[in-house]
């Protein structure tokens, strides 16, 4: 389908639903008492029936966290978070280990239906005909509700389950890799996550296996005043390949919700992990009230030679985004990629980017970042590219472009480039501009409305990144871009 038709269709939809995922599900939930203490950490661990080593690990993180300060270097402003006024655990009451979909609370199933997420295996993603199968792990507040296509994946040897289940069924793998990429001392939010993480996805793709389908996790915050702390761990063994997608939404609430996730990726020799995110947490209302604080630590470790990790992100939601998916290029000849579209509108604040840390020989990385700021928002790209002494022949290409729509928003670029090796070749370029009057005039003279024209031009601006998304999600994302920019013109 040509992009133009989609764009026009999408723009038609804009008026009806601005943030169409803003409903909340009325479902009974079990919560831990408010606040954070060692007892809460023990409570979460006990609730999940975790082994002693994991509890100790959590407690160590908790004690460490108590000594840490919130980072203030990002270009974001928000009132101080009262970490003792949050619920650290919330779970829908009826999910004490459902065996099949029939046992899952129908209210929950309806929620996912509304969100367009297929939990029944015979279904495919809403609105996409003939799309390949996608296995889904659905996380609702603090727990994983259901994971689809488990048997089919198991035949290929792929382990795809919630991380709590993995702790029970594959403790050796979890113990070996958990915290090996993002250590518990890493940063304020990652340490907090290590102490109280509730659930998340676990993927292990064994040696030489190409995962037969796309894997995906769908995160949903529902409960009020609840922090969501999920932990994702993906391991691609030698020569394995996996493509993984996460999506996020939350109901509209006046209070700010905290989301502090940690994602760890490990790629061994010749393995490849492709990680795509479509982040559409509730961004707050037109006055900047409410919305999700998205403070996420994502890091991939190209541990093996010739391994590859590719991050693709589409960031349209959240009141505040603080997120730097990174690659540690440890293996010789390993490759890291980062493709990002970050759109901010209203009073959203985005401070996002990546780190490419070249440690091994012949490593290469590529960064394409497209930031679009509209309304009263601030959109910052912050990135680091570094080559260490032994990173002979490291190569990096960075291109970060910003587009400003309106004169009340801001776009900023803060790249750090550190070359400690002469044979490292780094190229960095960045531009900031507005939508050119010529382009706009051309579209208008062809009969498009101004808003349609802007959406069309913006879709062209971000095309390089859109192309990196799995096929099935491209259409969805293009729609999302139009919706996010609604009201930004005129």
């Amino acid at each position: 389908m040509p992009a133009v038709e989609q764009t026009v269709e999408r723009v038609k939809e804009i008026d009806v639903d601005k943030y169409k995922y803003g409903f909340s599900t009325d479902i009974e939930s079990v919560r831990a008492p408010k606040g954070l203490s060692e007892d809460i950490v023990r409570f979460i661990s006990a609730k999940k029936g975790e082994p002693g080593w994991l509890l100790d690990w959590r407690l160590e993180a908790y004690r460490r966290w108590r000594t840490m300060q919130e980072p203030t270097w990002a270009k974001v402003h928000y009132p101080k978070i009262d970490f003792d006024d949050l619920y650290y655990y919330a779970a829908p009451k009826s999910t004490e280990g459902p065996k099949s979909l029939d046992e899952v609370d129908p209210e929950l199933l309806r929620t996912y239906e509304k969100l367009g997420i297929p939990l029944k295996e015979q279904e495919v993603l809403a609105g996409v005909q003939g799309a390949p199968k996608v296995a889904v792990d659905a996380v609702f507040d603090s727990v994983s509700v259901v994971t689809t296509f488990k048997e089919e994946l198991a035949k290929a040897g792929v382990i795809f389950c919630s991380i709590s289940e993995a702790v029970r069924t594959h403790p050796e793998l979890v113990k070996k890799y958990l915290g090996s990429v993002v250590p518990i001392t890493d940063n304020f939010y990652a340490t907090l996550n290590s102490a109280v993480f509730s659930d998340g996805s676990f993927v292990y793709v064994p040696e030489g296996v190409r995962c037969p389908m796309e894997l995906s996790t769908y995160f949903r915050i529902n409960a009020e005043n609840t922090g969501q702390f999920e932990r994702t761990l993906i391991i691609a063994d030698k020569g394995a390949y996996v493509s993984y997608l996460e999506g996020c939404t939350a109901p509209m609430r006046d209070e700010n919700q905290l989301h502090a996730a940690v994602v760890e990726l490990v790629a061994l020799d010749d393995a490849e992990i492709k990680y795509s995110t479509v982040q559409n947490w509730y961004p707050g209302d037109a006055e900047g009230k409410g919305g999700v604080y998205n403070f996420v630590t994502k890091r991939g470790d190209c541990r093996g030679d010739r391994s590859k990790i590719s991050w693709t992100q589409v960031e349209t939601g959240s009141a505040i985004t603080w997120k730097y998916p990174s690659c540690i290029l440890r293996g010789h000849g390993s490759r890291g990629e980062f493709y990002s579209i970050a759109i901010s509108n209203g009073y959203q604040q985005v401070d996002s980017g990546t780190k490419m840390i070249h440690l091994g020989r012949d490593t290469s990385s590529r960064i394409i970042s497209k930031g679009i700021a509209a309304g009263f928002s601030d959109n910052t790209y912050r990135g680091l590219v570094s080559a260490h002494r032994k990173a002979t022949n490291a190569r990096n290409f960075t291109c970060c472009d910003s587009l400003l729509i309106g004169d009340k928003c801001g776009a900023h670029t803060v790249p750090y480039i550190e070359a400690k090796n002469a044979s490292a070749t780094f190229e960095h370029e960045a531009t900031t501009s507005k939508i050119s009057d010529d382009q706009l005039f051309y579209c208008l003279s062809r009969g498009l409305s101004e808003e349609e024209a802007v959406a069309l031009i913006v879709n062209g601006f971000v095309r390089d990144v859109l192309q990196q998304l799995p096929m099935e999600f491209m259409a969805e994302t293009q729609k999302l871009i139009g919706i996010s920019l609604e009201g930004s013109v005129g």
Binding site: W73, R389, S402, L404, I405, G406, D407, K408, C409, G410, A411, H412, T413, V414, P415, Y416, I417, E418, A419, K420, N421, A422, S423, A424, T425, F426, E427, H428, E429, A430, T431, T432, S433, K434
Partner: protein, 448 residues
């Protein structure tokens, strides 16, 4: 005086406060200047020397680099031979036709300077130390420009301790035919600190080329802190050029702060090749529409040299243009730092800003750190930056060697071509050639 704002102070940090207290009574200036000094030393006392955790100094840890604070250099009237100029600045710059003003320990050496020539050409000229005793309004305004830099410790220390330098004012419409060459030469005998402040003011429509060169007479370690404030009236122009060729014992801290009026042009050009540690700051603020600036230069560093260039261009008003191009050649264990920031305020529509930094690493152990930054609040702008880092292109080298050039010569030629691009952009051909000559000296290759 109780200066206990900062909790912990390194020995050198405390020594700077002691230096101030010891010297304060002898520092030049009337009561208004003394008040500026007082407030500046308080700024310093609160912040201390900048270190890695101060974002603007992320790659240059001044607190770690400065272990001792030598006393303020005393004025000297020891003769300076012509050969000393050549040794310090290179032949080409020593012989450059210009209105020459020689400063030793910040004091103007009139017998070596062409002050009369400057005055005849219509320039208002004075030694800073004397002028501070009863500063005219335009000088006070320039001093306030520096004070407005707030928490910039380098500038605050300079305000607190400045002992010398010159003040130059070009009245309306005055255009100079020759460059003004301010020569700073120190380090003949004992180690010392030298704090100089130069003030450049061009009234509407005036224009001049001002070259500041920094060299060393002997091998005594000098801690230099030199600040120049520049104020450009409407339709005026300044070409502000710097050569830094100080001895390896030197710590060289330098800041240029320019306010650019409507339709004015401020071009800054800097070449750094000396000093153990050099920090070059240039900050340009547009205060009138349709003005332009070009900040360019080159860094040549080897051994364990550390050279930091930090630029800030603030577009506060609409329709201004800024261009930046810096080239770094880094050999041995040298470390080159380039930080450039373009800030475009909400009202500064039609801004056009471009920035480029390129590093050529000649050895496995050289290091280049770069932070090109854009901070943009206006939507009708075209801004961009680029940064590259790499080694000599093997294909180019092969081409030259295939033409019969020995490897060393072929490399030198490629390096010269790399930095030469910046020299060629200079309007003043004689100065461009002089830079080509000193950079050729640096490379050890014969000049053309």
């Amino acid at each position: 005086m109780d200066l206990s704002v900062q909790q912990f102070r390194s020995e050198a940090e405390q020594a700077l406060l002691d230096l101030y207290e010891r010297s304060v009574d002898a520092l030049p200036g009337d009561a208004s200047v003394a008040a500026l000094r007082q407030s500046a030393i308080w700024t310093y006392a609160g912040l201390g020397l900048p270190h890695r955790r101060v974002e603007a100094w992320k790659y240059t840890d001044l607190r770690a680099a400065i272990a001792e604070i030598p006393p303020l250099l005393a004025e000297s009237d020891a003769p300076v031979e012509d050969t000393a100029f050549e040794a310090a600045l290179g032949k080409a710059f020593a012989q450059l036709p210009a209105y020459r003003v020689v400063l030793v320990a910040g004091a103007v050496r009139t017998e070596l300077s062409d002050v009369q020539g400057l005055r005849d050409a219509g320039v208002e000229f004075g030694a800073l130390a004397q002028m501070l005793e009863s500063p005219p309004e335009w000088l006070m305004a320039s001093l306030d420009t520096a004070s407005a830099c707030g928490d910039d410790v380098l500038i605050a220390l300079n305000t607190a301790l400045m002992t010398g330098g010159v003040a130059l004012r070009l009245p309306e419409g005055v255009t100079l035919q020759k460059p003004i060459h301010l020569i700073h030469l120190d380090g003949a005998d004992a180690p010392g600190s030298v704090y100089t402040r130069n003030v450049l003011v061009t009234e509407d429509g005036a224009s001049a080329t001002v070259l500041e060169s920094f060299g060393t007479l002997g091998r005594a370690g000098v801690q230099r802190n030199a600040v120049t404030t520049v104020s450009l009236g409407a339709k005026s122009a300044i070409h502000h050029i710097k050569l830094q060729r100080e001895a390896l014992e030197t710590i060289h801290l330098n800041a240029w702060v320019a306010n650019v009026g409507a339709d004015a042009r401020y071009n800054a050009f800097q070449v750094s090749m000396g000093a153990a540690l050099a920090r070059n700051q240039v900050s340009v603020r547009f205060v009138g529409k349709d003005a332009a600036t070009d900040i360019s230069g080159a860094t040549l560093a080897r051994g364990k040299q550390h050279c930091d260039t930090t630029l800030v261009v603030e577009h506060d008003v609409p329709a201004c243009e800024s261009r930046e191009l810096f080239k770094l050649v880094l050999d041995d264990e040298a470390r080159g730092v380039f930080q450039g920031k373009i800030v475009v305020a909400r009202d500064a529509q039609k801004t056009d800003g471009k920035q480029m930094s390129q590093a050529l690493l000649l050895s496995e152990t050289a290091e280049f750190d770069s932070k090109p930054e854009l901070e943009i609040y206006a939507d009708d702008v075209v801004c961009g930056h680029g940064a590259t880092s790499g080694q000599i292109d093997e294909d180019l080298l092969f081409y030259l060697r295939a033409r019969g050039l020995p490897e060393a010569q072929a490399r030198a030629l490629l390096i010269q071509a790399f930095v030469g691009e910046t020299f060629e952009a200079l309007d003043d051909e004689a100065i461009g050639d002089a830079f080509a000559a000193v950079s050729a000296d640096w490379l050890g290759a014969p000049a053309e």
